[in-house]
Symmetry: C2
Subunit: 228 residues, 2 copies
DNA sequence: ACTATTTATTAGGCTCACCTAATAAATAAT
DNA sequence: ATTATTTATTAGGTGAGCCTAATAAATAGT
């Protein structure tokens, strides 16, 4: 039963998307987190959560002062928006030549207005890509999120080697820096140094002349995998 | 001085676009016409005209019960939106394989959210096309609307010949029919018959087996040119 | 266990862009 | 020139999604 289009507002799509992503990242979501991620006040989040939980088919399960989770309907919408976002990012990069630091913002605006047909044709033109330009997996047509068995770069020890799999997509400045030092999906790295107190890591990046030095606020959001 | 983005709402962009198009088509605009074109009530149009004329730099010149016209600012915004709309239509057709009857609706949603960079890259990828899929001229980067010395098909007399230049873009059913009978931009036609009372025209379309029979509600909105 | 701090919720307002109903102005018909 | 009809404007109202300020609940510190 496909969720129909144009049924939910941009705001609702944004809330569901961010709730899904926060749940995936840390297992729980707070009003405050949502407010920060969407750049609105907590009071507005409370209002929206109440509204979304009161919908005909509820989009979220909400118990005040306690948990927030997605209903199957809410999850479907979230995955749809995420699929469109990531497909569009890839499309902007491949078809229109956008740099990887510019695709996020543009995709964020487009994801709420494109039709099913647009989504379908983009997927076809790109040959059903599995990842967006930052390495995030693209949910399938059937809205299944591919498994990605990976861990944060921050958990690697000295001398460990791994492949970069995924980097955060929303910080343009960071993306420019990561590109410069070669920390991009697919890159092979080795941990040269790891400061035990502040967690700053120095990486050897294969094929790069310079090492990459990254603080924990970054390494916690960069994901790696051992196998190729 | 380029008009900045994101400064005006979708609604305002829509109003300015339709006012421009109505002014171009008939030289004047009524509240009622705008209301019908945008599918809102006349009262809403009055309200919006007042608002747009009260803007810091006014977007329209408005004298109640009398004329509506665009200020230079309003015209610039209108041309920008029209340029984006027509470029996107072309892009959807050429790059994503949309049929010509489906591009209008999709472009209408996209035109309000794409960035200047998106517009620029689409124009580059397409090689700065001059016309959209329905033959409407695309305003240049400098927001100049190319001249098109053409007249309505309805003004042709029996036995006159001409080339189809432009067809209306918003009616999907009509577009499917026009495609079927070969009345598409570039087609060469001859007026075989013209009923003097109801204005129904029968056309020979070069390269088509069947003649095309079109009523005045259509022939008034299809534009032709004598020279190739 | 009590107090301080953080986080979440309620209550009441605001803006945008629309609506309806009532009124007024412009235009057409007799 | 009245009257009838069409078109436009005003006045007041609605829902979405945000805001601030005040209050309540949960969490942390002593």
């Amino acid at each position: 039963m496909p969720v129909e289009r144009e049924k939910y507002s941009r705001a609702i799509e944004d809330y569901l998307k961010i709730i899904f992503e926060l749940l995936e990242a840390s297992g729980r979501v707070s009003t405050k987190q949502i407010a920060e991620a969407l750049d609105v006040k907590p009071a507005s989040v409370t209002g929206m959560l109440q509204k979304m939980s009161a919908f005909k088919p509820a989009l979220v399960n909400y118990r005040k002062h306690h948990s927030v989770s997605l209903t199957p309907e809410g999850r479907d919408i979230a995955l749809r928006v995420i699929r469109r976002h990531r497909l569009i990012e890839r499309f902007l990069q491949e078809t229109l030549g956008f740099s990887w630091d510019k695709v996020h913002e543009e995709a964020h605006r487009l994801e709420h207005v494109v039709s099913d047909e647009f989504e379908k044709r983009v997927a076809e033109v790109l040959g059903d890509p599995e990842f967006d330009p930052h390495g995030s997996p693209i949910p399938t047509r059937e809205l299944e999120m591919p498994e990605h068995s990976q861990k944060p770069l921050s958990e690697l020890d000295k001398r460990e080697r791994a492949y970069i799999r995924e980097v955060p997509d929303e910080d343009e400045g960071l993306l420019l820096y990561l590109e410069e030092v070669g920390v991009v999906p697919g890159a092979r790295i080795e941990v040269l140094e790891r400061s035990p107190y502040d967690g700053i890591m120095t990486l050897i990046v294969m094929g790069q002349l310079q090492n990459a030095v990254l603080g924990p606020s970054i390494t916690r959001r960069v994901f790696v995998e051992k196998k190729r």
